[in-house]
Symmetry: C2
Subunit: 209 residues, 2 copies
């Protein structure tokens, strides 16, 4: 309808979908946070000022890009288990937590720049907005996984706030150390995930594993 069939810019005065193109080009850059608007624009055969028809500022573009990244992360979480389907049994509940941890680690591994953008100073506001939107977010999965551990009897008591804090901290921390190239956190994602999840389970009171 409105979108020209070509997304690449030929000699046309109007690009067609510059907003999306800018975000995609930025996401494709190896060093997201250090790209320049001018470089980005000229790479798309467009003037730098054109970007300001779509974003208030460079920061606004990065914030929007962070939102895209949060969406990607959430999608990875969604691929690990269905938020609305309760875990069938203890084994499945534990597997969900494990898959979640591995997804977290893998995302950090594959997109470290995006990871830093999401959890760096820029996107604090972006994350806050994503949270108060009400819709299920990436923040819904970890609590759900813990709840599943309870309903399947892996843990005896409903997960306390401290359990969520602890679990989240551990998974997030392992990913952060990985992005930071800290030696202790390198190695196979599956291995790190297993080491960490095993101890998380013990930490929140899952006995007899």
């Amino acid at each position: 309808m409105k979108r020209p069939s070509e997304s690449s810019a030929t000699g046309r005065y109007h690009h067609g979908d510059l907003r999306r193109a800018l975000l995609e080009a930025a996401a494709a850059a190896p060093d997201i946070e250090h790209i320049s608007l001018r470089e980005l624009a000229s790479g798309l055969g467009v003037s730098a000022a054109a970007a300001y028809r779509h974003f208030d500022s460079r920061e606004a573009l990065l914030a929007e890009l962070a939102a895209v990244g949060i969406g990607q992360l959430q999608q990875r979480f969604a691929d690990t288990f269905d938020l609305h389907a309760p875990a069938a049994d203890a084994q499945e509940a534990i597997a969900r937590l494990y898959r979640l941890a591995v997804a977290y680690l893998r995302f950090a591994d594959e997109q470290p720049a995006m990871w830093r953008l999401i959890f760096g100073a820029y996107a604090v506001q972006t994350r806050a907005n994503a949270l108060q939107s009400g819709a299920p977010t990436s923040y819904s999965y970890l609590p759900a996984a813990l709840q599943g551990l309870y309903t399947t009897g892996v843990i005896a008591a409903p997960p306390a706030p401290g359990d969520l804090l602890f679990t989240w901290s551990t998974v997030h921390g392992a990913a952060a150390l990985r992005v930071g190239n800290v030696a202790a956190a390198q190695g196979e994602v599956e291995h790190v995930g297993a080491e960490v999840v095993q101890r998380i389970l013990r930490g929140i009171g899952a006995y007899g594993l």
Copy 2:
């Protein structure tokens, strides 16, 4: 001897200790990573080019500043317990881990910009250098604390690499979530530290608490 008594720059052609002054001014800035050399220099009543007599580049200055920050963090760790004095008993060994966690959290709380500088993309090389220097570093304390838990009988087996990874991840992650303004990690430092350490202990196999 060589240093003029005044550290503030009066009309003198030579500043006296510009290198230190630049680092201090940068550390005092509210948003370390986004300061400009020119602003920094002009704030000290000095030309921007003067900074290049002391640092190869802006990045080099930030790297050096990160090294300073790592030193400060290490000092906080050193204040929690003596690396060379073994823990007297189980209670003391546990208290050491707790104080370490709280120190970690407090540092992140009080100097979030420095925290980001240290663990961000810039200082990867800096941290690597600090590690291979051989001297005791901030990376020595967590392993030592875990070892203390073993020697005092809190845990039955010597700490495995996975135990270090797990403990480090959790503490680091809690601090990172805090810096990132994630709601679950806010609240009193002592409380967050206690919640997290309690579960870490369980996670690494400390029973009967």
